[in-house]
Symmetry: C2
Subunit: 142 residues, 2 copies
């Protein structure tokens, strides 16, 4: 388990540190956690880790492709460890809840822009905006 993370880090030629292992562990089974939550989870096991370390680690892991950063408009940054499978997200406009969605149209649906203006595109990110079941019933029942 821990050695898994260690292997991941080494594969990405990142040094293996307590902070990094703790962040990976915190993200393991939790989708879409925001930075504050990561800090709290990390400190549950390692109370001395600074918030700055968590920010640095999240950036390093994001750059290395081990975690993915998602930041819907108007919300704080969230991170997830599910990477490399081209999945997307539904975001609730009223409560900010996020859920995973697999790609509707094949494997890389929107990866081809009609006119890319000369940009070299390497990723297509899709955010579905709507209302989650909870907020929907709340609103209709009023």
């Amino acid at each position: 388990m821990t050695s898994d993370f260690e292997a991941q880090l080494r594969a990405a030629s990142l040094r293996v540190t307590r902070a990094r292992l703790a962040v990976l562990a915190a993200l393991r089974d939790r989708p879409h956690v925001d930075t504050d939550t990561v800090i709290a989870l990390v400190r549950a096991d390692h109370p001395t880790v600074s918030h700055q370390a968590v920010y640095d680690v999240l950036r390093a892991l994001t750059n290395a492709g081990l975690v993915r950063r998602i930041q819907p408009a108007g919300a704080t940054a969230r991170y997830e460890s599910r990477v490399g499978d081209n999945h997307h997200h539904v975001v609730c406009r009223s409560c900010g809840a996020i859920a995973d969605v697999d790609c509707a149209v094949g494997q890389a649906p929107c990866l081809t822009a009609s006119d890319d203006h000369g940009f070299v595109v390497d990723e297509a990110e899709v955010v579905y905006w709507g209302t989650c079941p909870g907020c929907a019933t709340e609103r209709t029942s009023q």
Copy 2:
């Protein structure tokens, strides 16, 4: 010109104010402007408009659907007046430049999620991440 904006505002049952007309004018021919730029543009004509007013106006116009807010991860909010035609954006990872892209796969390609988790989806936002021509040549020439 101004009366156009006035009509737009009235159609959305929003009051017609100097600040709102100025913001609409500022967004007219400028795609993807950030809030600071909007403030500067508005003040060019109306020096007394407060930044708070601009924030309020942008939110009101966004809620009314007259402008669209876009906020790629890690950048400040930007606004555009091109609405209602389901177009998307390419964003440069290194300089943050944004360009419009029309929808590749038909009219509303990704609007149907494979499994929407009970969410009522009303919009699909697509962000293409990549490198703009300028940054690409810069990098290869080094």
